[in-house]
Symmetry: C2
Subunit: 364 residues, 2 copies
């Protein structure tokens, strides 16, 4: 029995610069079948939540540029379930906007907010965690986030320290949060991993409409005030014009920094459901099946010699010979080619920026 | 004053497999502007010989498949100057065929035979060497080859040992040949280089029609007999049908192995005119201008980071980011991509063969 008060907001406005050239401004990562499984990441994300919320309660927040591709990839949802941001303003304004639209329809909503471009390998566990979490935030005045038990000292994630002694009596995987930390240096990340009471911040949130509204009023009153002006306009023809106006002046701030790191009622659900934020080519490499030389190769006409630990992603019928590479990313898409050491993949964002400056801004 | 008895035969039937994917069966290396100078290799070769022979005495021997591209790239020559081989049979039959056509017109010809796809950086010296050589073979009963003073123990070339004490009194750069040797192992090549009396075999030959005819009759009588049957048919409408018939049964043999290694009247012209056979990507790398990181980069939109000693050859407007490569070949052409260590470039021919087997034979 699906709870009619359960809502889902899928954030799909990112551009996935670190996945260039597969991901680019025309078709960002969430709209790509990057796992080669026949569904794009946003399609997989949407399908996951249809097991938890009524289909008509699932909202996609994305930018105007991706309206058509969203419709095309998710033909089951209605026009008003696609929330279009006129500018990119990070997660807090995105969530505030979705909140105002949802609470106009259902002030008793319990909402899960999730990125559109993550990978969840164990879907059944995920479904269970979200259902339990929504139940908990429906019954308790909490803001909840999901924390992933870390398997390595990854410096690409934020970390959440939880209070082991304070778990929820009805669900011992839910804990009080001590602190949020930004992406750490490697030494710090190693000590986090050893300590055992740090989790990766997966960027998946749950709360009741009432609690998140209270949090915005307390910690981001300026942002909330902007969206409050629109009461009566949400879900009407006047909404887009109003939104366009306030987004121009709204500040760019994340919900982590703006609310979660400051609120006192934050809880974390420690979970393990085969999660990856698929932030980089290396993280895709980690979850993909390897061949006998530990290579991950996409493309029907790719020949690989004397190479190992590479991720090679080529157009289906392109003839490619790769020889003598170890631990490299080799990717072509849309007639753009990237060859980069996996260990230097954090530079890709910078390379893309330079490509943009030097060769015109149509790429990212 | 250009000597009307001087003739040139340019051999242009190769497919340049080691230059894949720039070179392929549709457009082999000789038809490519591989130096990026505005002329293809065959155009440069043709232009070089126009300073030595009357334009109408320059013949191109190539395969039927390249008739059109030869006409297109060399619009100055007439149809009968393009000699079409129905099958690839190595250099001896190619030369025999050209000989019979030329001697029908001029039995007093002195002929220079040269590949179409080599690089000559010092054209004035080259012109002088060929003129001196043609003069010498007009006056002496010799078969002559050109030997390049080696600059490295290259294992990709055949070597010619010359007799230092027996040089031609009218030109001290022309010597008696002691031995021809096939491509040596590295240790052998090193000792050749140290000894000082070995030269690289450039595959450029000069002889009078009379001497080369005598040599064919002596060392390759079966090949000569086949072509002799066609006397009276050369330069007539019956020629192609006759040639098609004899090429089917003619054996595949090089002029080096079939004649030069066996004849006693072989002389070598020791020369230095900035020669390269451009046999591999590495040899192209050697002669091209390098940037500050010792890279040779073609393409307008290629960004190279943390890389050196690479040769990167990309389509003009393709967006490419290359990071973290040292001493690699990175080439794309015709939607085919090769990434290979320069030190393993001798494998490219094998890779191409495997590509051909696995993905169909339209590539080479």
């Amino acid at each position: 029995m699906i709870n009619p008060n359960y809502y889902c907001v899928i954030m799909a406005g990112g551009i996935g610069a670190r996945f260039w050239p597969m991901s680019n401004s025309t078709t960002p990562k969430q709209f790509i079948d990057i796992l080669g499984e026949g569904q794009t990441l946003i399609q997989k994300t949407f399908n996951r939540f249809t097991k938890i919320c009524p289909k008509e309660n699932i909202y996609i927040v994305t930018s105007k540029a991706y309206k058509e591709i969203t419709h095309k990839q998710l033909p089951d949802i209605s026009e008003d379930q696609i929330i279009l941001e006129p500018y990119r303003r990070n997660t807090a304004p995105c969530i505030a906007y979705a909140n105002y639209k949802i609470k106009t329809k259902n002030p008793n909503a319990a909402v899960v907010v999730a990125p559109s471009d993550h990978v969840i390998l164990k879907e059944d566990i995920f479904t269970n965690v979200i259902e339990e979490g929504l139940k908990a935030v429906s019954e308790n005045p909490w803001l909840m986030t999901i924390g992933i038990r870390p398997s390595s000292p990854n410096t690409g994630y934020g970390y959440i320290q939880y209070n082991e002694d304070k778990s929820y009596e009805k669900n011992r995987s839910i804990y009080d949060v001590k602190t949020f930390t930004e992406k750490p240096e490697l030494e710090m990340a190693k000590s986090f991993l050893e300590s055992g009471d740090f989790l990766w911040n997966a960027g998946i949130f749950m709360w009741s409409m009432k609690e998140i509204q209270k949090a915005f009023e307390t910690f981001l009153p300026d942002v909330d005030a902007l969206f409050k002006q629109g009461e009566g306009l949400y879900n009407t023809d006047s909404e887009p014009e109003f939104i366009d106006k306030i987004y121009q002046v709204c500040r760019n701030i994340s919900v982590d920094y703006g609310i979660m790191e400051k609120a006192q009622n934050v809880h974390v659900y420690a979970a393990n459901f085969g999660w990856s934020d698929l932030g980089t080519w290396g993280s895709l490499y980690e979850i993909r099946k390897k061949d006998t030389n530990q290579n991950v190769v996409s493309g029907n006409r790719v020949k690989v010699y004397d190479s190992n630990k590479c991720i090679i992603n080529m157009p289906k019928n392109k003839i490619v010979v790769v020889q003598g590479l170890e631990d490299y990313i080799v990717v072509e898409n849309d007639d753009m080619l990237l060859i980069c050491k996996k260990s230097d993949e954090q530079q890709i964002r910078q390379y893309v920026a330079e490509v943009q400056v030097d060769f015109g801004n149509k790429f990212i």
